[in-house]
């Protein structure tokens, strides 16, 4: 009996404010794609697509000229490209955490943010995949990494974490697309049924695949959604674990540690939530979605950032402890060098952004203040890029042989390609905002109080 009343209490939490009707939800979300394109959108996409074009030009030059245009050289063979790869793929993780893990844990507040968080995942993973793709040098033979029969009778080495990475990130991207599209089908059908002109009717009709919302469809749909969530949950945890094994299975001091997989996953979720929060704050303001993405949603995300930020902080500290406790001289040197060597500025930027600043979220006032949380999220985005920079560069630039030590710095091409990847990301995100329902219409309706078939009886 007690458990029963507790369940009822939990269900009373108001997730969507302003008490909208079902039709209000359809109207609010659909009109974003139906109304005239705002002028701001054109300005934004002009900027972002210019950056994107710049990136493609730089990539073309890279393919023509070679990897030497970047700042990488031996022993720093992995520079910004790998830093950017880990940065972008990490950002993607929050989208899957929201869509899959929070779904399995029945966190119903996720419905307001899952659609665009998933979109963010897709676009971040696209940006991520570019960097190792162009870093291989001869990109026209990149297909050698796939297990395809070929005239050389060669096969990929399945014992290499770099190959695991291709499979893990490739699968992650494909499964994220499937998950995202499955969620979209009912919403595209809702848009189709409202479409006024013929072109919209045809295009939305094609993409909604003939969905008509019968329970005989929902029945299989719900199982498919659950299965995808169940499959994506171990997948998302495995992806960044596999990314971390690129480092951890090497014998380099500072990388060769078993803490990497969980530490990377926590960092990925941390950085991803910072990016979701950054985007959510802008999107809800521009499109007036304050009732859908409420301050409570943002506060919950801030709490997740605080928790994962402390996990990351714990990992930073634990690495130092193990370096000392292992008694391994190289390991000890790698960490002293990290904190007090030539890249100390990067290390302390990382510590400040990732460990110290998120502690402000202990205060409820700060957790619920839009300008402050936006600023903190930006700091986390920066800090998490520096984390990957510190890991990659501080270890490589001072390896076992002091005669090869050198200070690594990026060239204009490194910087341009990274800035350009933001152009690609925002271009894709802007196209998404314009043409696709940015809030999961059917899922949000499902968490409204009147959607509960027993709603009337409670009153």
């Amino acid at each position: 009996m007690t458990t029963n009343t507790e369940t009822l209490e939990l269900q009373k939490e108001i997730l969507i404010e302003g008490n909208p009707s079902f039709a209000d939800v359809t109207e609010k979300v659909s009109t974003i794609t139906e109304a005239k394109t705002p002028r701001l959108w054109y300005v934004a996409i002009a900027i972002s697509s210019s950056l994107m074009v710049m990136m493609f030009v730089l990539i073309a030059y890279l393919v023509w000229e070679g990897i030497g245009i970047w700042g990488v050289s031996i022993p720093v063979g992995w520079g910004w490209a790998i830093v950017n790869f880990v940065f972008w793929v990490g950002i993607g993780h929050a989208g899957t955490l929201i869509s899959a893990i929070l779904f399995l844990f029945r966190q119903r507040w996720r419905t307001s943010i899952n659609r665009f968080a998933e979109a963010m995942t897709l676009f971040a993973v696209i940006c991520a995949l570019i960097f190792p793709g162009i870093h291989v040098g001869r990109i026209w033979v990149a297909y050698w990494m796939a297990p395809l029969p070929n005239q050389m009778l060669m096969w990929p080495n399945f014992r290499s974490p770099l190959l695991w990475d291709i499979f893990a990130v490739g699968t992650y991207f494909t499964v994220s697309v499937l998950f995202w599209y499955t969620g979209l089908i009912p919403d595209l059908a809702a848009l189709r049924d409202r479409a006024k002109n013929r072109l919209r009717k045809i295009v939305l009709g094609l993409f909604s695949l003939g969905w008509y919302g019968g329970n005989r469809q929902w029945q299989h749909y719900e199982i498919a959604y659950l299965l995808l969530a169940g499959l994506s949950t171990p997948l998302v945890l495995s992806v960044h674990s596999v990314v971390s094994t690129d480092f951890a299975t090497s014998v380099l001091p500072g990388w060769h540690t078993t803490i990497f997989p969980p530490y990377f996953v926590a960092g990925a979720i941390f950085s991803g939530f910072a990016m979701v929060s950054t985007l959510a704050i802008i999107v809800r303001k521009i499109y007036g979605l304050e009732n859908y993405i409420t301050i409570n949603h943002l506060e919950k995300m801030n709490k997740i950032m605080m928790v994962t930020g402390m996990m990351v902080g714990y990992a930073y500290g634990y690495e130092f402890f193990i370096a000392w406790y292992s008694g391994n001289l190289y390991e000890r040197f790698a960490f002293m060098n990290r904190a007090f060597g030539p890249y100390a500025w990067a290390y302390w930027t990382m510590i400040s952004c990732n460990v110290i600043i998120p502690q402000l979220f202990w205060f409820k006032k700060i957790r619920r203040s839009i300008p402050l949380m936006f600023t903190i999220a930006i700091f986390i985005n920066i800090g998490m890029w520096f984390e990957r920079f510190v890991i990659v560069v501080s270890t490589l630039s001072r390896d076992f042989l002091p005669s090869s030590w050198a200070y690594y710095s990026p060239t204009i091409f490194d910087i341009g390609t990274f800035v350009g990847s933001f152009g690609l990301f925002f271009t894709l995100f802007l196209i998404f905002l314009r043409f696709v329902p940015i809030i999961a219409i059917s899922e949000v309706k499902g968490v409204l109080p009147q959607a509960d078939a027993h709603h009337e009886q409670q009153h």
Partner: protein
Amino acid sequence: MSSSTESQQMDELKNKNEVIHGLLAEFENPAALLAAAEKVREAGYRKFDCHSPFPIHGMDQAMGLRRSPLGYIVFAVAAAALTAGVTLEWWTSTVAYPLVISGKPFFSYQAYGPVAFAIMVLCSAFTAVLGMLALNRLPKFFHKLFHSRNLERAMDDGFFISVDSTDPNFDLQQTGNFLNSIGAKNIEVIQAE
């Protein structure tokens, strides 16, 4: 005997000419739809469906639907894909292209986990989505329910029960009266225009 079957066939032909695909009844809210679904099932109808903008908890039981077989299908594919993945890794690194790498055995099963897992997840996810579409007979350019005008609100805020005219119990008049009696507020005959 012959005359009765003839008249039946005549009736059927007449029905086909009119092309009545069924009835679509609207209900107030999810609770009303849930209660109505149970009554429609109890009245012996089998070819009916309940339309709502979001899945309604408890509707499968109310309609008397069996659990979706999708989970079993995906499990079978997952098992097959995992086996195929490990087999690929074993065959390429021991038979097709054996290479000694850091002195590890050719069959280093410990290292095969991530790729086999990724292949399994990839195949399972495709099966879940394509299987769902196949079980729903999707994609589809047209469905007879799209003749309905009211159903355009099914993904917005409408709650409907459609009864297919091919159901053995279907009779335009009687079914209509029955739907009225269980609280339908708006009944539409679905037919081609």
